[in-house]
């Protein structure tokens, strides 16, 4: 029981550092500015149509790969110091032991990624106020925004957000609003955990900073996967099987009979990857020397 409490203590200790961390403030500022800008078109459209938007916008914010780059590079900025070998580390490790300390850091990655996900979702709702109304359905605004570009007069208003029109319409046909939202939030959280743990492991095995490069690779890979799979001569949606970050975007998962990875594959693979990374973190930390590393 005490060991369990210590895992939570060490996790909480990392959150305490946010108070004095310029990096945490930069991340928060980026989320706020990005979400404000991303929802600008929706706000303009709701004002022009004099209609409210439903709280199911979030899955579609994630349907455009540039948005991914901004969101996940922000998360990489937050986690790039993993495994957080700061000056406090030896004194915590002496008391808690390596295993408990490592478990605390892993829990922190899970918890911080969750907070990050909720903040992104929360601000996407906040900036749609006051034209936000709950409904069990998608609502007219989101339906309008998912119309094909050629017929979509609403694009005039969409200064901030770009929907993947065809994909978005498919998502609306395949999932209920609450399903789409929950799956998006779940994958956004897990993708953050994946990137955080990847940085943890790579920074432990290689040098501090290599983890951020490895994680950035997956974020950028998602961008190019999107570009390649849409290209004229190179249509290979199978590439999404190898791009865990893409699984956050529901439009990149299988709907109907297309060649993209099904939801079950994405969920299973993401879970396996995360379990393997946790195992590697614990194994490497068991032998790792306790030393303070400079902040990136």
């Amino acid at each position: 029981m005490d060991k369990c409490k210590n895992v939570f203590r060490i996790c909480g200790n990392n959150f305490s550092k946010w108070k004095n961390s310029p990096r945490a403030f930069i991340c928060l500022s980026l989320i706020i500015v990005f979400m404000y800008d991303t929802t600008a078109g929706t706000r303009a459209l709701t004002a022009a149509q004099n209609m409210a938007v439903t709280p199911w916008l979030f899955p579609f914010i994630l349907s455009y790969p540039v948005n991914f780059c901004v969101i996940y590079l922000t998360l990489i900025l937050l986690f790039c110091d993993a495994p957080f070998f700061d000056e406090q580390f030896p004194y915590l490790c002496m008391r808690a032991g390596r295993l408990i300390w490592t478990a605390g850091q892993i829990l922190y990655i899970f918890a911080a990624s969750f907070v990050f996900t909720i903040l992104n979702y929360g601000f996407s709702l906040l900036f749609c106020l006051p034209n936000l109304a709950f409904s069990e359905n998608w609502g007219r605004i989101l339906r309008m925004m998912s119309m094909p570009a050629s017929t979509n007069f609403t694009k005039l208003y969409l200064t901030g957000i770009m929907f993947d029109s065809a994909g978005s319409a498919n998502v609306m046909d395949t999932y209920t609003p609450i399903q789409a939202l929950l799956i998006s939030l779940l994958f956004m959280w897990l993708a953050g955990v994946f990137l955080g743990l990847l940085m943890f492991v790579v920074n432990l095995k290689a040098h501090q900073g290599a983890g951020a490069l490895a994680s950035s690779f997956f974020v950028i890979f998602n961008f190019f996967a999107f570009a390649f799979s849409r290209g004229q001569g190179f249509k290979a949606p199978i590439i999404y099987y190898f791009s865990p970050i893409s699984w956050v975007n529901l439009t990149q998962l299988q709907m109907g009979s297309n060649a993209r990875p099904p939801l079950s594959y994405a969920l299973t693979m993401m879970s396996i990857i995360i379990i393997v990374l946790i195992g590697l973190s614990l194994k490497i930390m068991k032998r790792r020397e306790i030393e303070v590393l400079p902040e990136i």
Partner: protein
């Protein structure tokens, strides 16, 4: 003569560089032992090996009868201050120590307050550690090392950043701790500190440890 720390044929190598070369030494219980040597001579690395922070390339270290890295990962019953002590800058000294103490639950609030007073800090002060001077941080680091009443103390440059008054305070504290039966290993650049405080003195030179007379350390 009971031994608190036994170092047996310890070598430590970082890639091609040998930092510790066949170190053989034992530190008796209840005494203050000094380690002197230039920067980069290997003092801190030896201390880190004793604390279990680093694993020797070969050889073994026994602390309180238990082999480090085999019987225990990090020796218990050991307090340390190695390099710069790290604390949460946005919290008071007391809150920082309380957080650390809560992990093992070996020290309650009264003990933490007492130890802070012993090193010359006000436990009631709400001042954040970020506002502490270097000397105050060092005092807090020493309080962190002693608050759980460990039998063995590993102190790397404990007088860093302290003014003359602070040095006197800490010297007195270390003598008191010795009287209480603690075993203390101190690394210091200050030959005077070593000569005044220590019962035995060892000099580290390019990874080789040799015992020297106290007078010679001056």
């Amino acid at each position: 003569m009971e031994t608190a720390i036994q170092v047996n044929h310890v070598n430590k190598q970082f890639k091609e560089i040998k930092v510790l070369k066949d170190i053989n030494v034992s530190f008796e219980k209840g005494k203050i032992h000094g380690l002197i040597g230039r920067n980069g001579s290997g003092k801190t690395v030896l201390m880190k090996c004793i604390c279990g922070f680093m694993k020797p390339t070969s050889g073994s270290i026994t602390v309180d009868g238990k082999q480090v890295g085999k019987d225990v990962d990090i020796p218990q019953n050991l307090g340390a201050i190695i390099e710069a002590p790290g604390f949460l800058p946005g919290y008071s000294g007391f809150r920082n120590l309380k957080f650390l103490a809560d992990i093992q639950k070996k020290a309650d609030s009264a003990q933490i307050e007492e130890m802070m007073e012993r090193v010359g800090l006000d436990p009631k002060s709400k001042k954040h550690v970020s506002k502490y001077s270097l000397g105050m941080r060092q005092r807090l680091g020493i309080a962190q090392a002693i608050m759980e009443d460990p039998d063995i103390l590993i102190l790397d440059e404990p007088m860093n950043g302290l003014d003359n008054h602070g040095v006197e305070d800490i010297r007195k504290l270390l003598f008191d701790l010795k009287e209480e039966g603690k075993t203390i290993l101190i690394a210091s650049h200050s030959a005077e500190d070593i000569a005044v405080l220590c019962d035995t003195v060892h000099e580290m030179d390019a990874g080789v440890l040799s015992q020297v007379q106290k007078e010679d350390s001056l």
